[in-house]
Symmetry: C2
Subunit: 116 residues, 2 copies
DNA sequence: GCTTTATTTCACCAATCAGTTAATTAACAA
DNA sequence: TTGTTAATTAACTGATTGGTGAAATAAAGC
Protein backbone atom coordinates (compact mmCIF):
# COMPACT_ATOMS: atom_id res chain seq x y z
CA UNK A 1 0.00 0.00 0.00
CA UNK A 2 2.39 2.69 -1.16
CA UNK A 3 0.29 5.71 -2.11
CA UNK A 4 -1.70 7.80 0.38
CA UNK A 5 -5.07 7.15 -1.22
CA UNK A 6 -4.58 3.39 -0.98
CA UNK A 7 -3.54 3.74 2.63
CA UNK A 8 -6.66 5.76 3.37
CA UNK A 9 -9.03 3.28 1.74
CA UNK A 10 -7.24 0.35 3.36
CA UNK A 11 -7.56 2.01 6.75
CA UNK A 12 -11.30 2.46 6.19
CA UNK A 13 -11.74 -1.16 5.14
CA UNK A 14 -12.22 -2.38 8.69
CA UNK A 15 -15.33 -1.96 10.84
CA UNK A 16 -13.35 -1.56 14.06
CA UNK A 17 -11.32 1.26 12.58
CA UNK A 18 -14.41 2.92 11.15
CA UNK A 19 -16.05 2.71 14.57
CA UNK A 20 -12.99 4.33 16.11
CA UNK A 21 -13.21 7.17 13.60
CA UNK A 22 -16.92 7.52 14.33
CA UNK A 23 -16.14 7.78 18.01
CA UNK A 24 -13.45 10.35 17.35
CA UNK A 25 -15.84 12.43 15.28
CA UNK A 26 -17.56 13.18 18.60
CA UNK A 27 -14.32 14.50 20.02
CA UNK A 28 -10.83 13.71 21.25
CA UNK A 29 -10.34 10.46 23.18
CA UNK A 30 -7.54 8.48 24.79
CA UNK A 31 -6.48 5.05 23.60
CA UNK A 32 -8.24 3.28 26.48
CA UNK A 33 -11.43 5.25 25.87
CA UNK A 34 -11.34 4.21 22.24
CA UNK A 35 -10.55 0.62 23.16
CA UNK A 36 -13.27 0.22 25.77
CA UNK A 37 -16.15 -0.78 23.45
CA UNK A 38 -13.99 -3.46 21.82
CA UNK A 39 -12.25 -5.04 24.78
CA UNK A 40 -14.91 -7.75 24.83
CA UNK A 41 -13.82 -8.76 21.34
CA UNK A 42 -10.12 -8.04 21.22
CA UNK A 43 -7.11 -7.06 23.26
CA UNK A 44 -5.59 -3.66 23.83
CA UNK A 45 -2.56 -4.32 21.61
CA UNK A 46 -4.98 -5.03 18.79
CA UNK A 47 -6.41 -1.54 19.25
CA UNK A 48 -2.93 -0.06 19.35
CA UNK A 49 -2.33 -1.66 15.97
CA UNK A 50 -5.56 -0.33 14.52
CA UNK A 51 -4.65 3.13 15.75
CA UNK A 52 -1.25 2.81 14.11
CA UNK A 53 -2.93 1.97 10.81
CA UNK A 54 -5.16 5.04 11.15
CA UNK A 55 -2.17 7.15 12.11
CA UNK A 56 -0.09 5.94 9.16
CA UNK A 57 -2.99 6.82 6.90
CA UNK A 58 -2.96 10.30 8.44
CA UNK A 59 -6.55 9.91 9.60
CA UNK A 60 -5.73 10.53 13.25
CA UNK A 61 -3.03 12.25 15.22
CA UNK A 62 -1.90 11.21 18.66
CA UNK A 63 -0.84 13.72 21.28
CA UNK A 64 0.83 13.20 24.66
CA UNK A 65 -0.64 14.21 27.97
CA UNK A 66 1.15 12.49 30.88
CA UNK A 67 0.66 8.77 30.32
CA UNK A 68 -2.32 9.33 28.03
CA UNK A 69 -2.30 9.58 24.26
CA UNK A 70 -5.21 11.78 23.26
CA UNK A 71 -6.22 10.95 19.70
CA UNK A 72 -7.99 13.24 17.35
CA UNK A 73 -9.41 13.01 13.89
CA UNK A 74 -7.75 14.48 10.85
CA UNK A 75 -10.19 14.86 7.98
CA UNK A 76 -7.68 15.75 5.29
CA UNK A 77 -7.08 12.26 3.86
CA UNK A 78 -10.81 11.67 3.91
CA UNK A 79 -11.34 14.69 1.81
CA UNK A 80 -8.84 13.34 -0.69
CA UNK A 81 -10.74 10.06 -0.75
CA UNK A 82 -14.08 11.78 -1.28
CA UNK A 83 -12.48 13.93 -3.96
CA UNK A 84 -11.30 10.84 -5.79
CA UNK A 85 -14.81 9.48 -5.71
CA UNK A 86 -16.44 12.74 -6.74
CA UNK A 87 -14.14 12.83 -9.74
CA UNK A 88 -15.99 9.84 -11.17
CA UNK A 89 -19.37 10.43 -9.61
CA UNK A 90 -20.78 12.08 -12.70
CA UNK A 91 -19.95 9.05 -14.80
CA UNK A 92 -21.35 6.71 -12.16
CA UNK A 93 -24.56 8.62 -11.93
CA UNK A 94 -24.88 8.69 -15.68
CA UNK A 95 -24.61 4.93 -15.62
CA UNK A 96 -27.14 4.72 -12.82
CA UNK A 97 -29.43 6.99 -14.81
CA UNK A 98 -29.10 4.73 -17.80
CA UNK A 99 -29.91 1.73 -15.64
CA UNK A 100 -32.88 3.53 -14.11
CA UNK A 101 -34.18 4.53 -17.51
CA UNK A 102 -33.76 0.99 -18.73
CA UNK A 103 -35.63 -0.50 -15.78
CA UNK A 104 -38.36 2.08 -16.05
CA UNK A 105 -38.85 1.50 -19.75
CA UNK A 106 -38.92 -2.21 -19.11
CA UNK A 107 -41.51 -2.17 -16.28
CA UNK A 108 -43.96 0.48 -17.49
CA UNK A 109 -42.71 3.88 -18.42
CA UNK A 110 -45.74 5.81 -17.07
CA UNK A 111 -44.72 8.67 -14.80
CA UNK A 112 -41.67 10.49 -16.08
CA UNK A 113 -42.01 10.46 -19.81
CA UNK A 114 -38.77 9.13 -21.20
CA UNK A 115 -38.60 7.52 -24.61
CA UNK A 116 -39.88 3.97 -24.59
CA UNK B 1 -13.82 -8.40 5.12
CA UNK B 2 -17.37 -9.44 5.82
CA UNK B 3 -19.56 -6.36 5.53
CA UNK B 4 -20.24 -4.60 2.21
CA UNK B 5 -18.70 -1.29 3.24
CA UNK B 6 -15.44 -2.97 4.20
CA UNK B 7 -15.42 -4.85 0.91
CA UNK B 8 -15.93 -1.60 -0.98
CA UNK B 9 -13.13 0.24 0.78
CA UNK B 10 -10.81 -2.75 0.46
CA UNK B 11 -11.53 -2.93 -3.26
CA UNK B 12 -10.66 0.75 -3.59
CA UNK B 13 -7.42 0.34 -1.66
CA UNK B 14 -5.44 -0.62 -4.73
CA UNK B 15 -4.24 1.70 -7.50
CA UNK B 16 -4.71 -0.91 -10.23
CA UNK B 17 -8.31 -1.44 -9.25
CA UNK B 18 -8.95 2.29 -9.00
CA UNK B 19 -7.47 2.72 -12.47
CA UNK B 20 -9.78 0.00 -13.76
CA UNK B 21 -12.77 1.80 -12.26
CA UNK B 22 -11.57 5.06 -13.78
CA UNK B 23 -11.38 3.38 -17.16
CA UNK B 24 -14.85 1.91 -16.72
CA UNK B 25 -16.25 5.31 -15.85
CA UNK B 26 -15.65 6.13 -19.52
CA UNK B 27 -17.76 3.19 -20.56
CA UNK B 28 -18.08 -0.56 -20.80
CA UNK B 29 -14.95 -2.56 -21.60
CA UNK B 30 -13.86 -6.17 -21.99
CA UNK B 31 -11.38 -7.85 -19.70
CA UNK B 32 -8.56 -7.63 -22.23
CA UNK B 33 -9.28 -3.95 -22.87
CA UNK B 34 -9.08 -3.31 -19.14
CA UNK B 35 -5.95 -5.41 -18.83
CA UNK B 36 -4.06 -3.83 -21.73
CA UNK B 37 -2.54 -0.84 -19.84
CA UNK B 38 -1.22 -3.16 -17.12
CA UNK B 39 0.15 -6.09 -19.07
CA UNK B 40 3.61 -4.53 -18.91
CA UNK B 41 3.44 -4.81 -15.13
CA UNK B 42 1.37 -7.92 -14.46
CA UNK B 43 -0.23 -10.93 -16.05
CA UNK B 44 -3.78 -11.42 -17.24
CA UNK B 45 -4.76 -13.70 -14.36
CA UNK B 46 -3.74 -10.92 -12.01
CA UNK B 47 -6.28 -8.68 -13.71
CA UNK B 48 -8.90 -11.40 -13.53
CA UNK B 49 -8.33 -11.47 -9.80
CA UNK B 50 -8.62 -7.71 -9.47
CA UNK B 51 -11.86 -7.84 -11.41
CA UNK B 52 -13.14 -10.54 -9.11
CA UNK B 53 -12.42 -8.32 -6.11
CA UNK B 54 -14.30 -5.46 -7.75
CA UNK B 55 -17.15 -7.78 -8.65
CA UNK B 56 -17.40 -9.20 -5.14
CA UNK B 57 -17.58 -5.65 -3.84
CA UNK B 58 -20.43 -5.04 -6.26
CA UNK B 59 -18.52 -2.25 -7.97
CA UNK B 60 -18.67 -3.85 -11.39
CA UNK B 61 -20.85 -6.35 -13.19
CA UNK B 62 -19.63 -8.67 -15.89
CA UNK B 63 -21.78 -9.63 -18.85
CA UNK B 64 -21.26 -12.28 -21.53
CA UNK B 65 -20.99 -11.59 -25.22
CA UNK B 66 -19.55 -14.56 -27.09
CA UNK B 67 -16.07 -15.11 -25.61
CA UNK B 68 -15.92 -11.59 -24.23
CA UNK B 69 -16.89 -10.42 -20.76
CA UNK B 70 -18.02 -6.82 -21.03
CA UNK B 71 -17.62 -5.13 -17.65
CA UNK B 72 -19.49 -2.14 -16.46
CA UNK B 73 -19.43 0.09 -13.45
CA UNK B 74 -21.96 -0.11 -10.68
CA UNK B 75 -21.98 3.06 -8.60
CA UNK B 76 -24.23 1.86 -5.81
CA UNK B 77 -21.54 0.66 -3.37
CA UNK B 78 -19.59 3.81 -4.05
CA UNK B 79 -22.55 5.86 -3.05
CA UNK B 80 -22.73 3.93 0.22
CA UNK B 81 -19.04 4.64 0.79
CA UNK B 82 -19.44 8.34 0.09
CA UNK B 83 -22.50 8.40 2.34
CA UNK B 84 -20.51 6.89 5.18
CA UNK B 85 -17.86 9.55 4.74
CA UNK B 86 -20.34 12.40 4.44
CA UNK B 87 -21.96 11.24 7.65
CA UNK B 88 -18.82 12.20 9.53
CA UNK B 89 -17.57 14.96 7.33
CA UNK B 90 -19.78 17.45 9.14
CA UNK B 91 -18.25 16.45 12.45
CA UNK B 92 -14.76 16.66 10.99
CA UNK B 93 -15.41 20.09 9.65
CA UNK B 94 -16.90 21.14 12.97
CA UNK B 95 -13.67 20.03 14.58
CA UNK B 96 -11.71 22.06 12.11
CA UNK B 97 -14.02 25.01 12.85
CA UNK B 98 -13.53 24.59 16.57
CA UNK B 99 -9.78 24.45 16.06
CA UNK B 100 -9.97 27.58 13.96
CA UNK B 101 -12.07 29.35 16.57
CA UNK B 102 -9.73 28.25 19.32
CA UNK B 103 -6.68 29.49 17.51
CA UNK B 104 -8.44 32.76 16.76
CA UNK B 105 -9.51 33.29 20.39
CA UNK B 106 -6.02 32.45 21.54
CA UNK B 107 -4.31 34.91 19.27
CA UNK B 108 -6.78 37.63 20.25
CA UNK B 109 -6.17 36.95 23.90
CA UNK B 110 -9.84 36.53 24.76
CA UNK B 111 -9.16 35.10 28.19
CA UNK B 112 -12.22 33.05 28.92
CA UNK B 113 -12.06 30.74 31.90
CA UNK B 114 -12.98 27.09 31.91
CA UNK B 115 -14.82 26.46 35.14
CA UNK B 116 -15.01 23.18 37.05
C1' DG C 1 12.20 3.54 45.64
C1' DC C 2 7.98 0.88 44.71
C1' DT C 3 3.29 0.62 42.64
C1' DT C 4 -0.22 1.76 39.55
C1' DT C 5 -2.07 3.25 35.21
C1' DA C 6 -1.70 3.91 30.19
C1' DT C 7 0.21 2.39 26.25
C1' DT C 8 3.50 0.16 23.26
C1' DT C 9 6.68 -3.38 21.60
C1' DC C 10 7.97 -8.21 20.83
C1' DA C 11 7.62 -12.70 19.05
C1' DC C 12 4.61 -15.49 17.25
C1' DC C 13 0.50 -17.51 14.39
C1' DA C 14 -3.25 -18.24 11.00
C1' DA C 15 -5.57 -16.21 7.25
C1' DT C 16 -5.79 -13.36 3.36
C1' DC C 17 -3.62 -10.90 -0.62
C1' DA C 18 -1.27 -10.07 -4.85
C1' DG C 19 1.28 -12.03 -7.87
C1' DT C 20 3.26 -16.04 -10.77
C1' DT C 21 3.15 -19.99 -14.58
C1' DA C 22 0.72 -23.72 -16.58
C1' DA C 23 -3.44 -25.87 -17.73
C1' DT C 24 -8.39 -25.39 -18.82
C1' DT C 25 -12.83 -23.79 -20.48
C1' DA C 26 -15.74 -21.27 -23.85
C1' DA C 27 -16.98 -19.46 -28.13
C1' DC C 28 -16.09 -18.78 -32.56
C1' DA C 29 -13.77 -19.50 -37.44
C1' DA C 30 -11.66 -22.40 -41.06
C1' DT D 1 -12.00 -31.37 -36.71
C1' DT D 2 -8.45 -28.21 -35.75
C1' DG D 3 -6.98 -23.87 -34.47
C1' DT D 4 -7.42 -19.13 -32.42
C1' DT D 5 -8.91 -15.78 -29.19
C1' DA D 6 -10.83 -14.48 -24.60
C1' DA D 7 -10.90 -15.40 -20.10
C1' DT D 8 -10.75 -18.33 -16.02
C1' DT D 9 -9.03 -21.88 -12.82
C1' DA D 10 -5.43 -24.33 -10.34
C1' DA D 11 -1.49 -24.73 -7.59
C1' DC D 12 1.95 -22.39 -5.65
C1' DT D 13 4.70 -18.45 -3.34
C1' DG D 14 6.05 -14.43 -0.55
C1' DA D 15 4.27 -10.42 1.87
C1' DT D 16 0.88 -8.31 4.63
C1' DT D 17 -2.93 -8.36 8.07
C1' DG D 18 -5.18 -8.98 12.31
C1' DG D 19 -4.99 -11.14 16.16
C1' DT D 20 -2.65 -13.20 20.58
C1' DG D 21 -0.05 -13.17 25.42
C1' DA D 22 3.99 -11.59 27.74
C1' DA D 23 7.31 -8.21 28.53
C1' DA D 24 8.77 -3.35 28.25
C1' DT D 25 8.28 1.64 28.57
C1' DA D 26 6.45 6.07 30.39
C1' DA D 27 4.60 9.05 33.65
C1' DA D 28 2.38 9.72 37.92
C1' DG D 29 1.28 8.85 42.84
C1' DC D 30 2.42 7.27 47.34
Amino acid sequence: MRDPLSRTFAALADPTRRAILARLSEGEANVSDLAEPFLRDMSLPAITKHLKVLENAGLITKGRKAQWRPCQLNGEPLRAAVDWMEQYRVAWEDQLDRLGAYLKSKSKGADHGHET
